[in-house]
């Protein structure tokens, strides 16, 4: 048997030439897909490799669940959040196996409170949970309906219940994500926000099996909200804290955003961004923006780079791809 000491034979070969199948492994199929993406292989040949691949362990459902968890792992930072999502996954999976074995199972209570500053990944995680629960057959659709106070609270008696029920209807079989949920308790007893909360609580009872509610907002405000509505805390057994990103994490997020758009930082630009992110005077702004603010910085830098380049008569590919320190001057509002 031939042994390739220097690794697998290359995939690159003329399309007319029958490609020799690389080893039947996950890696080889990924190689083949890369070959297809890079134009070295046609889809039929890639499909032949897919066919030769041993079937993945488990069925399609397991593969899709694994894909969601893989995507979760790919997110920058959020270590504790990731651990909690994995716990939830394990809990739901074991509950399913217990049910199959005829053992007692408690009803699933997956309503959650997400506490953290804006831009810390709350919506991203909520969306990912929707997909995870869909693949695990907890939710039929797993879509995310994002609402805030104005979507739920009406202006006259009876209007609030009607508006809130409409949003609940849209979210059935998925997740209703209420951003800045504490604002529902803003006006005290006489405020229509109270009516929205009551309607939501009723919906949680009536749609036990096909609705998950996530209340999201700043740490302190959510804490106050739950303290002043004691009945709510017990109905939301899962509470997840989203810490602010560290400067290192924001730098990685910035790198990924640029990479996705086919840009990159010049060395001086990386240093400049780090300087901006570390400056004491910017900390307040950063804690209210986090990853979202980083995205705004990147987008503004890209526009400034364009403004700089458009004045040059000619530009190289290198120029078109590179963000320089000068493009980052004054990018914060």
């Amino acid at each position: 048997m031939a042994v390739h000491e220097a690794g697998r034979p290359p995939l690159a070969m003329p399309p007319s030439h029958p490609a020799r199948a690389p080893r039947e492994s996950r890696e080889s199929f990924e190689d083949a897909l890369r070959g297809l993406e890079e134009g070295r292989l046609g889809p039929a040949r890639a499909l032949a490799l897919l066919r030769e691949e041993p079937p993945a362990a488990g069925n399609g459902r397991e593969a899709r669940v694994a894909a969601v968890l893989q995507e979760l792992d790919g997110l920058v930072g959020l270590r504790q959040v990731k651990e909690l999502v994995r716990e939830l996954h394990a809990f739901v999976e074991v509950r399913r196996r217990r049910a199959e074995a005829g053992l007692a199972t408690d009803p699933l209570a997956l309503h959650m409170v997400f506490r953290g500053n804006p831009g810390t990944g709350k919506t991203t995680i909520a969306r990912l949970l929707g997909r995870l629960f869909r693949e695990m057959d907890v939710l039929a659709k797993g879509h995310l309906v994002e609402v805030e106070r104005a979507d739920l609270v009406g202006e006259y008696i009876g209007h609030t219940a009607q508006k809130t029920r409409e949003q609940i209807r849209r979210a059935l079989d998925g997740i209703l994500f209420i951003d800045e949920a504490y604002s529902l308790a803003r006006g005290g007893e006489k405020d229509f926000g109270k009516e929205a909360i009551d309607t939501l609580v009723r919906a949680m009872e009536n749609h036990r099996d096909n609705l998950i509610l996530i209340l999201a907002g700043y740490n302190d405000e959510m804490e106050y909200f739950l303290r002043t509505n004691p009945g709510l805390r017990s109905r939301f057994p899962i509470q997840i804290d989203f810490p602010d990103y560290s400067v290192g994490e924001l730098m990685r997020i910035a790198d990924l955003m640029l990479q996705k758009r086919q840009y990159r930082f010049a060395e001086d630009a990386r240093a400049k961004l780090e300087e901006i992110l570390r400056a004491p005077e910017n900390q307040r702004l950063l804690s209210t923006g986090n990853a979202r603010l980083t995205r705004n910085i990147i987008e503004r830098a890209i526009r400034r780079q364009a403004l700089r380049l458009v004045q040059q008569p000619t530009t190289t590919v290198e120029d078109l791809m590179t963000i320089r320190a000068v493009d980052l001057i004054g990018v914060l509002p």
């Binding site: 890369r34 297809l36 292989l41 889809p43 039929a44 499909l47 897919l50 399609g60 659709k141 996705k260």
Partner: protein, 200 residues
């Protein structure tokens, strides 16, 4: 939730089938989950009446993303929610445009984890030219043999050369289940619904 992937060569009629089949199941508004390669999923909402004009034209590779719509299929006393996913067309040749090649790779990744597959072959084209049944069609059929539920849909049966094409498709894939369909006349749609309602 069960996921059904709709595959086929470019211009086999995949997107139109998705729209018309959703309409057949009484979907009024198409809520499409669109995932382009490397992009997060976004939702595109379109009334069925406008979907055709927006999503279908005669050009190759109009669809360059996974486009999924949830439909409800009655199964005995229950309703089964099916995520019907339209894909980028696969052709035998190596496409010159990188974005199309990436979208094709995305189709293959989705194929790998799909629970069921409907593979469309343009019966009219196969009737006009037997070579229209491509290697990529054969590979999909081979791949699905013994995996999940699978059916070949011989599409465009309302066109003149389609009956001959259907014969050719049946001869090429004697082992596969072939359902003749037309997205214009809705021929075969009840059979596809039965396929969805089956045990899998």
């Amino acid at each position: 939730m069960n996921t059904v992937l709709v595959t086929g060569q470019p211009r086999a009629g995949k997107t139109l089938f998705l729209i018309q089949f959703a309409a057949f199941l009484n979907v009024q508004e198409l809520r499409l989950h669109v995932t382009a390669p490397g992009e997060p999923t976004h939702i595109l909402t379109l009334p069925i009446s406008r979907a055709r004009a927006e999503l279908v034209d005669g050009a190759d590779h109009k669809t360059r993303a996974l486009q999924a719509v949830d439909v409800e299929v009655p199964v005995r006393k229950h309703v089964r929610v099916i995520r019907l996913t339209d894909t980028t067309g696969l052709s035998d040749d190596i496409h010159q445009e990188a974005a199309v090649r990436e979208a094709m790779a995305q189709t293959l990744r989705a194929l790998r984890s799909a629970e069921a597959v409907l593979h469309l072959i343009d019966a009219d084209r196969a009737g006009r030219d037997g070579r229209a049944i491509a290697d990529v069609d054969r590979e999909i059929v081979r791949f699905m043999a013994g995996r999940g539920p699978f059916s070949v849909l011989a599409s465009k049966m309302d066109l003149p050369q389609a009956p001959l094409g259907l014969e050719r498709i049946r001869r090429a894939f004697p082992e596969a289940r072939v359902i003749p369909v037309s997205s214009v006349t809705r021929l075969g749609f009840p059979d596809v619904r039965r396929f969805f309602a089956g045990r899998w």
